[in-house]
Symmetry: D3
Subunit: 235 residues, 6 copies
């Protein structure tokens, strides 16, 4: 599992979280990046992180891992990584949205922040996945990623509030948490709602296990091996 950010307290938490949740036949190694941003809250961060994610994925491929999880809802480097290795690579965002399709009819995404907003237009990620007709809304909770754990009760409360609005005002029948920094929070905000709340980190873990067990290769038609050519990199 790759945390596509600089080393942080998330690594330690995630080590515990993934160890607690992984199936017995697997083991998870948590790696963050040597280079990149401290958190991913937009395309700028995603783009800076992506080549280092790909490097970690290639490294994992060489070291004999069975699959790689990119532990961020924005799926940084996902497509590139799939071209670069033979083993399955999953992203937390894609996995969570995929899973949402299986437990209910329509879904909203709760983006922690930093802005507080609502939009009824499908996000780029949702359009890229081609699941616009299942999408209801995206809501921002106004919590910057690096402040998620500063006051976890407050974060939980804000997320819960947006989850509730998504369900009651927008008609969401499933809610997807839009950040792996919220790992473990789903049961707390889901209680009594009657609406499943998807944890993207767990979704990715399960999907990675599934792809390994199914021995299902990544489509080389979608993700062809990149041809040999000169590439010059400072890392």
């Amino acid at each position: 599992m790759i945390n596509p950010i600089l080393p942080s307290e998330f690594d330690k938490q995630d080590r515990v979280f993934f160890a607690d949740n992984v199936n017995p036949s697997f083991e998870v190694e948590v790696k963050s990046l040597d280079y990149g941003p401290a958190s991913i809250e937009g395309y700028y961060d995603e783009t800076l992180a992506a080549p280092f994610v790909v490097k970690r994925v290639v490294d994992a491929g060489r070291r004999g891992f069975d699959a790689v999880i990119i532990n961020c809802f924005m799926d940084p480097g996902l497509d590139a990584a799939r071209e670069a290795v033979e083993i399955p690579v999953v992203g937390a965002g894609e996995s969570a949205i995929c899973l949402a399709l299986m437990v209910g009819d329509s879904f909203s995404i709760i983006d922690p922040g930093p802005r507080n907003y609502v939009s009824y237009a499908p996000t780029r990620q949702v359009r890229r996945m081609g699941v616009e007709n299942r999408f209801v809304s995206v809501r921002g909770a106004g919590v910057p990623v690096l402040e998620i754990t500063k006051d976890l009760d407050k974060t939980t409360e804000r997320i819960r509030l947006e989850v509730l609005k998504a369900v009651e005002e927008d008609g969401a029948e499933v809610v997807v948490l839009g950040c792996t920094g919220l790992a473990g929070l789903a049961p707390k905000v889901q209680a009594k709602l009657g609406v499943p709340v998807i944890d993207p980190a767990l979704a990715a873990l399960r999907m990675a296990e599934v792809l390994v067990q199914l021995k299902l290769p990544t489509s080389r038609a979608s993700y062809p091996e990149s041809p040999e050519k000169p590439r010059k990199l400072p890392f």
Copy 2:
């Protein structure tokens, strides 16, 4: 796992197949129906099978099973079953299509038969799932379900041919086998293609395991518990 058809040789095969593939922490019981059709090749069969599927699902819920698999690509009784029980219920069709979204960009469905055809319009199931923009084509291989195992080499050859056409003529980057009667065939028709071929029975098995492990409830907003009311049934 419910084979939504009358008892048949498929049950025995599926018992072996599912036992071979299930994760160690689970056990699969294979049940077919007391009433229903011998195979499901259209809406008529699906509709006749569905109430008996639901009955089996309710029974499984009462007997303490953790999840139920409806082992047919048409997902007979899936929505009703989700309303009827608390435990996760997965369908082979929905699971396979969902999984296809994770390993490549666009998918075709190979329907065994009975007709030999191609269509570029998304099927009702694909539209219902809201994934039309990932769909390429559906191709019928001209093999009636009850003849799949009569000459398995011939069946394999016909399926392989349509898989190839889907990839080369339509541009499919993932292929979904459109019948659980083809369980186990995927690796044989996938070889050397560079394109993953999804086995719907296996897809359903994995998704059932995932939903159990995630303790993710079915959305009661999508699948509300049916209110108490008079219902009169001859079974």
Copy 3:
């Protein structure tokens, strides 16, 4: 016309309603089911009713009827029935939504209940019909089907309120009543709105007449005759 529920007061009302509205060259026989639920308010009820609907349809085909109306917005057994007989079979939901496309640009569905809610995600039926881009919202009025006629004024008021909200808050330009139990109510809630309100029972009646008069066969490519095979049923 098949009321896909157990015999009830609706049958009598519908006999009058359909007799009042049918074109002179047709006659309508109203039949409810020997088995099934007392009302259809979800997939569980729909699935239990469907095989008995199909049986009634097959029976109607044998008895020389020209067409069959399945008088429920959820269209239980519609696809199966089309495979089973040569004559046209129409569903109230499909007919109403189709008609909505002809009188305005965007439509909302008012679902009587039992829940009071709003959702901006296209329903499964709307997705199945492939008309998501014309859909605005679905609103639940909080009236259980079996209570519709208990206090008809109250029901009318609740429906009217949701119709109004659909028009003013969501931008609906046509409103589709989402239940045939509301037959006859459309003119009352439509008054002065400037927005047509579609009665699904009437829509189905008209569409059935149209298909008979056009001698338009059901597509055997979409609804192929089901092949002969063993089928075992307790009814």
Copy 4:
């Protein structure tokens, strides 16, 4: 019924055709235009015809007609006419496509000509109607509208050929004839196909009858009455 072209032999044929097919409680008057093109084969013709169609519609409204049919697949002046009068106005194209949704799953359009072509991208009309997901293909048969009746056998043969290709190569499950000049041809090209072929002139006739009988008003939210303002016209 308005033939949105200059007076021609079509008028006489259509008088017979509509008289033969109309329901006993209705009478059809066929009117062509004083000004406009001799046939409509593109937007240029459609635009030139449209204001004269609207004039005819307004006139029909004043003269107490119950509904108006615009007898051309391109629906010239349809939207404008709906704003201009209280009575229902139907177009042959919209009616035919709507009806196609009720008899099968996916449809192709056969455009008489003048070009011979196939396209898998939804036409503007299909997109405007928002039914792209039910669309398969559009095929041009290479017969200019004014030559349709010159050699009717040849026309029939060309249309039949494209209908067949739509069904066998593209997977169409319903075929819509894309020109009212082909009125009456549907049964001839439909024979033995198992796939319904929609006659747009008949579709419009039936839909007009339905809207009148349902007393369903045109949505004033979609088609508001145009405000009073200076308008200067040379006709």
Copy 5:
């Protein structure tokens, strides 16, 4: 540039506006219509204006202009004009929506009036363009076109209010002004929003320049030259 309405004060304003904004290598001639409506606020007006627009376009083609702008958000006569001439023809609505796709992710349209409303269903124009998944909402500001300039401060205030609502309540990330009568207003309502507001008149001007400079022909496959045939017109 064609103002598809009767001569009005808009012509003079537009002459200044276009002269101020056109690139040095171009010159703009502003022409209104001899016949048509005083303003375009619906399909009735659009249809009455369209043939006179086409006439002006054909005339411009003959007089050697390099391109034509149809200066109305509804794009009256656009498709017909493209068939009629070889030079590029652009519409203000299409140009503005196209441009919106390049500066942000999702857009709302602010329609001046005459009604005050909001709708979350894609408009016919948006569906025709096939960009529904980028659309958020359309809002009417309640200002009749002919009153836009009567009290420009009030108009600006009303537009600003709807722009704000589109951004804050609907989640619009770009706003398109839905009327060329609002030319020049964009900067005033855009200030401090962080969201671009598109002026359709300017969008059309730029797109016309672009198409001329690119020497990009209009697709004759989409807009074939209309075949010679009798056409009788009173103008």
Copy 6:
């Protein structure tokens, strides 16, 4: 203008090409990357190039440029760059597809290579742009990017062949060249087709000029400025 690849002969060609085509009031500086791949033929290359593209864009912003063109059909770093600077940033792929919407109804993309293929499923880029309903097909011409100029006649011939197939077999009404390495080729493959062929490099140049002249800001709602945070990079 940024060539998102290592320095190459393309730089020199592009300097001439852009100088020849830019409007007099602008000047274009062509910059390639210090680090990155020699060509971009997939997500792996795109991801490796993107951060260096963003760096170049930030640099251009600081040096007072008015806009930046990312000269590759895959738009590497486009979203990130828009977050990073105030000035407009355009990508060749997005610009070309946007322009295609203005000159015809449906478009195909010709991807130079390296594979020779056809697919009828909208590409990720097309889905991300939300213009699936205008898309017809994507065809690969089997020419690796680095071999485009080796035998330009052969390349032209191969591209011309796929353009023709897109038009004749798929029904494309506009063709978009899917690689800026094909700059200048459009007129050669367009001749006599009646179908416009879009040059993505030129499309980007024009769109950049347009955005500068319109003073239209990038939407900060879509592309918010990235918050300050630790970021560690080896370049």
